[in-house]
């Protein structure tokens, strides 16, 4: 009988483990039986890393030594993190995806034998176990296009990012080319929406209608967009916008999350319940008794926000994205931003800091 006791991140508690008895070493231990690379050099010198298949894990620092190749779907954590920094509840035997240790139950997405039917678990199912990986690929290959669309939709509904699904499909040599193509086309609209960070499809349609394809293309980096938008208007005009697409890509990136929103008190725009992004918020204000003192407080708060250097959105806009002219604090806030070199970006609907 051999027992092993570990600290949460995988270091062996030597004193109370069978290792202490000097028995024959079993190196397949922590993290669902990953091999501990110990004593591989003469003189007792060890790496003491676990081989987690796709990455090496160092229990002494509780970090993987290589980047997470799916870091774009687990963006809440550093790409070197092990088991979402929660080793008491999760493990990561493959180095690819965090999951509950050794727990399987029925699938909710046909073809994907995964533990919870969650999108990220599908990736676990695909990558961790080669037999399962093969089965999933075979199933997908035998699916009709409609079934693939449905499976992809399930993944997206479960929160998978379109780009992650696409990358997975592209790098999976077990999938035939028709399947990969179908997965690509099924994720296309979401991919564009994701990249463009549009508040809604209506938003996209409105922008295309109002500003023409060229201007809308500025908003939406990525060559796929050019193809899709070409259906709206002629493709030639889009080609000209290609350079500008690159230039604005960075700005669009920075607007993925919402942020501070300037608003007009009691206006319908400020009270609107829809169309907000996560992280959107207003300046908090407390009544100091007089407009002069209130403005002092307001401008102080705004200056502090400006110090963070993030896009400040303007909620008092017309349907075409232009600024609604107004007076009061909102006008003063805009003046303050402009006087400090901030620029209004009509396509972002917000003010960007000076370069």
């Amino acid at each position: 009988m051999e027992t092993e006791n570990y600290y949460p991140f995988g270091l062996t508690q030597a004193g109370i483990s069978s290792q202490a008895a000097g028995k024959m070493e079993n190196n397949l231990k922590f993290n669902n039986g990953n091999e501990l690379q110990s004593n591989e050099f003469s003189g007792g010198v060890s790496l003491n890393w676990y081989d987690a298949g796709h990455r090496s894990y160092d229990p002494q620092i509780g970090r993987f030594l290589q980047l997470d190749m799916f870091s774009d779907i687990s963006y809440d954590f550093t790409p070197y993190a092990f088991a979402n920094d929660n080793p008491m509840n999760f493990n990561d035997p493959s180095g690819l995806e965090t999951g509950k240790p050794a727990k399987t139950d029925s699938t909710t997405t046909p073809g994907f034998e995964n533990s919870k039917g969650g999108a990220s678990n599908v990736l676990t199912g695909i990558t961790v176990n080669s037999t399962r990986r093969y089965t999933v690929a075979q199933n997908l290959n035998s699916y009709t296009p409609d079934q693939i669309d449905w499976a992809v939709q399930s993944l997206l509904d479960n929160g998978a990012r379109p780009e992650a699904i696409r990358n997975w499909a592209l790098n999976n040599d077990l999938l035939n080319s028709e399947t990969v193509e179908r997965i690509y086309s099924a994720t296309e609209p979401w991919s564009i929406k994701y990249r463009a960070n549009l508040r809604s499809w209506d938003d996209a349609a409105r922008k295309v209608a109002e500003f023409g394809v060229n201007a809308a293309a500025l908003l939406i980096p990525g060559s796929e967009l050019v193809e899709v938008l070409a259906e709206f208007r002629e493709a030639d005009a889009l080609a000209e916008g290609a350079e500008a697409i690159e230039e604005t890509a960075e700005t669009v990136q920075s607007s993925e999350e919402g942020g501070l929103n300037l608003f007009k008190h009691n206006s319908a725009q400020a009270k609107n319940a829809t169309g907000w992004k996560s992280g959107d918020r207003f300046l908090k204000m407390f009544d100091k008794g007089s407009p002069k003192l209130n403005w002092k407080q307001n401008s102080g708060f705004l200056r502090r926000e400006m110090g963070a250097g993030k896009t400040i959105f303007d909620s008092y806009l017309k349907v075409d994205g232009t600024l609604q002219e107004t007076g009061g604090f909102l006008n003063a806030e805009r003046s303050l931003l402009q006087s400090r070199g901030w620029n209004f970006n009509q396509f972002l609907g917000g003010w960007t800091p000076p370069n």
Binding site: H265, A268, W295, K318, V319, T322, G327
Partner: protein
């Protein structure tokens, strides 16, 4: 007295006359709706300002802010609704509803269309002017650092008719220096 109650006490009879129903009432704001119109009347305690919004009864969220400039340019009226005390605001509101805004309250669709068009145009001009001034500020910076290529690039984004004469001259000089 509470703002919304004050408005109702003074202008309530007009709302009744034009079949405007209260659909939202808070201490400092009042939203009314008829078959054709949505009207929002609000007071902002923090900046001590009052605002009137008017628009057609639809799902669009942007209604037209009726400020002094709209009153003057669109309604050809000398009434003041912005930057006035509450008392004056409400008095002028009643006068406005009984005179200039009467066709709107009666549901004159053409006038609503024109008002929206006017507001959109004003909004575009405001944004356009703002973007031009931003570009000019950026061009100034480029000029000061003798970065003529950048200067030309920025000015090329602006309609030449919008350029002040000094910038047209600078534009020529920049071209000679490049």
């Amino acid at each position: 007295m509470i703002f919304s109650q004050l408005v109702l006490a003074r202008a309530g009879f007009i709302f009744q006359k034009y079949n405007l129903k209260i659909i939202e009432q808070q201490d400092n704001s009042l939203k009314l709706q008829s078959e054709y119109l949505v009207i929002i009347i609000a007071h902002n305690q923090l900046e001590n300002s009052n605002t009137l919004w008017l628009g057609r009864n639809d799902k669009k969220i942007d209604k037209v802010e009726i400020d002094n400039e709209t009153l003057k340019s669109f309604f050809d009226s000398n009434l003041k609704l912005s930057q006035v005390p509450i008392e004056t605001f409400i008095n002028n509101l009643v006068v406005f509803f009984e005179n200039e805004a009467q066709p709107l309250l009666n549901g004159d669709i053409n006038l609503i269309n024109e008002l929206e068009k006017f507001d959109l145009e004003r909004s575009r001009k405001y944004t356009h002017d703002l973007l031009v001034s931003q570009n000019l500020a950026a061009a100034n910076k480029a000029w000061e650092t003798s970065n003529y290529k950048e200067f030309i690039k920025i000015l090329d984004q602006i309609d030449k008719d919008d350029l002040p004469s000094s910038y047209r001259l600078k534009y020529k000089i920049a071209h000679q220096n490049v």
